[in-house]
Symmetry: C2
DNA sequence: TTACTTAATGTCATTTTAACGTTTATGAAT
DNA sequence: ATTCATAAACGTTAAAATGACATTAAGTAA
């Protein structure tokens, strides 16, 4: 009976050894941004104040669930598809002097070794509203190119997520699960250009993505834009999954 | 003083919440094998007795180091390049009834939630000798196609590693870091065929891999083979790294 | 109505890909 | 020494894909 009470309490505690960090890429049609939080009790150094949203995991949570919860708790973002990109477990990652104040103020066991599982997503910034809470004082979109330094090993985690995003984007078209359900090809092209930091010819891009035959062209077009309205497309689920499955049999590198 | 003693003891303890599992692919020129261990105190069911080599992590270890240690302790394999492919953290993954006996006999805290980081490698089987020890009674190469079931979520982990290997192989030529330093193109081709489970035309393969211009053709040839001896190749490090860097700027999917 | 802005589109030369069979060079057996 | 078996190495052709390039179409704002 008293054993059972102890067990329930354990399940409601954050595990001091396991955390998740979320890299949320935001796109505004021009460049990639990353969602960072300002945490309470930070030093005055504005640059290093920004951190990836992250926190410890409950023992009853699977990792994906934990990432969604943490993201919601710190930034207010919900209903976002999160994909795991790696684990970070250097014991020294929490030993930087400048990171100690925050650790000591927020963690019950600030000296515990922490393994962090990284999750990432990609969203259209204008579709979401940020609501920072818990130990997140602010939540902001920072242009990726302006991020030069982050606390702990967050800069390393960020770079790993970029690399993962790029690798994935080379294997399959970007957007499935990540972009909004309907999108314009121009939006998609600009996203590719932002990810690879390279200009792509529009005619070539359209030919290639359309020839993949994984998109459905909608009847709907943009409205209220001071230029020719673009047509919306969406992924055809059956065709996309067939393309992915077939992909394994195609010899290429 | 007594604090310091306590600290050192903690660092020498296995962390009950964090483990690593190793998926070692072995290649014999025909098909992929996976290195599995038979563990002590197993049930008689031979199929489910096999498991991936894995164990808990020390708090002073980074994850890669831990994977190398665990692999060495359980199988005797050393000097193997290990690459991380994912984290597995479903709280229910250790709750299968048939897995309890082993957990209880080997783990000091068999009910702790465990997050496992998966590492994989690919080796030429004939280059290594297995030496099982610790709780590994046997270590064996099992053909990948014969593996239908594994304890815990090891089958899921195995499938994830295969998928990761395939994805990587679509982005860059296989072998760098993984294959032995020198290898024949025929060996490489057969490896591709094994990974993708698809026949590849030799002429097409050779043209493509050679045109990548990341390999150096050696003067050395096979010896003691009852057929025309194949020429050895090796990766040219400078060219390979240049190819990888350039790859990011190439628009393709 | 005009100006501005961006969406959508096709052609051509070059490169890459998919499909296909024969010659060459070893070790083993006779 | 010769034969056999085995796999290594190799080129051609038609089709598909790629890279480079500019003009017309459709909305809003002035």
């Amino acid at each position: 009976m008293s054993r059972e009470i102890i067990k329930k309490e354990i399940n409601n505690q954050l595990n001091p050894n396991i955390s998740v960090d979320c890299v949320i890429f935001g796109f505004d049609g021009k460049e990639l941004h990353v969602l960072l939080i300002d945490r309470e009790n930070e030093l005055k150094n504005v640059v290093s104040a920004h951190a990836l949203p992250g926190n410890l995991v409950y023992d009853h949570e699977n990792l994906n669930m934990a990432a969604e919860r943490v993201l919601k708790e710190l930034t207010g973002l919900t209903s976002i598809y999160l994909e795991q990109f790696g684990a970070f477990g250097d014991p020294d990652r929490i030993k930087k002097k400048e990171d100690q104040p925050w650790l000591k103020s927020v963690r019950t066991n600030p000296n515990a070794r922490v393994v962090t599982i990284g999750y990432y997503s990609l969203i259209r910034m204008s579709d979401y509203e940020l609501n920072p809470s818990s130990f997140a004082k602010f939540a902001k979109w920072i242009p990726l190119k302006e991020i030069l330094n982050l606390p702990f090993d967050h800069f390393k985690i960020l770079n790993s997520s970029i690399e993962y995003l790029r690798s994935n984007t080379k294997i399959r078209p970007i957007g499935y699960n990540l972009l909004p359900e309907k999108f314009t090809l121009n939006e998609m092209q600009k996203l590719y250009e932002a990810i690879f930091n390279k200009k792509i010819d529009n005619r070539n891009f359209r030919r290639k993505i359309i020839n993949l035959d994984v998109l459905d062209k909608l009847a709907e077009k943009q409205e209220g834009v001071a230029h020719k309205p673009a047509t919306f497309y969406k992924f055809n689920v059956v065709k996309y999954e067939s393309y992915i499955e077939k992909g394994f049999f195609k010899f290429e590198f």
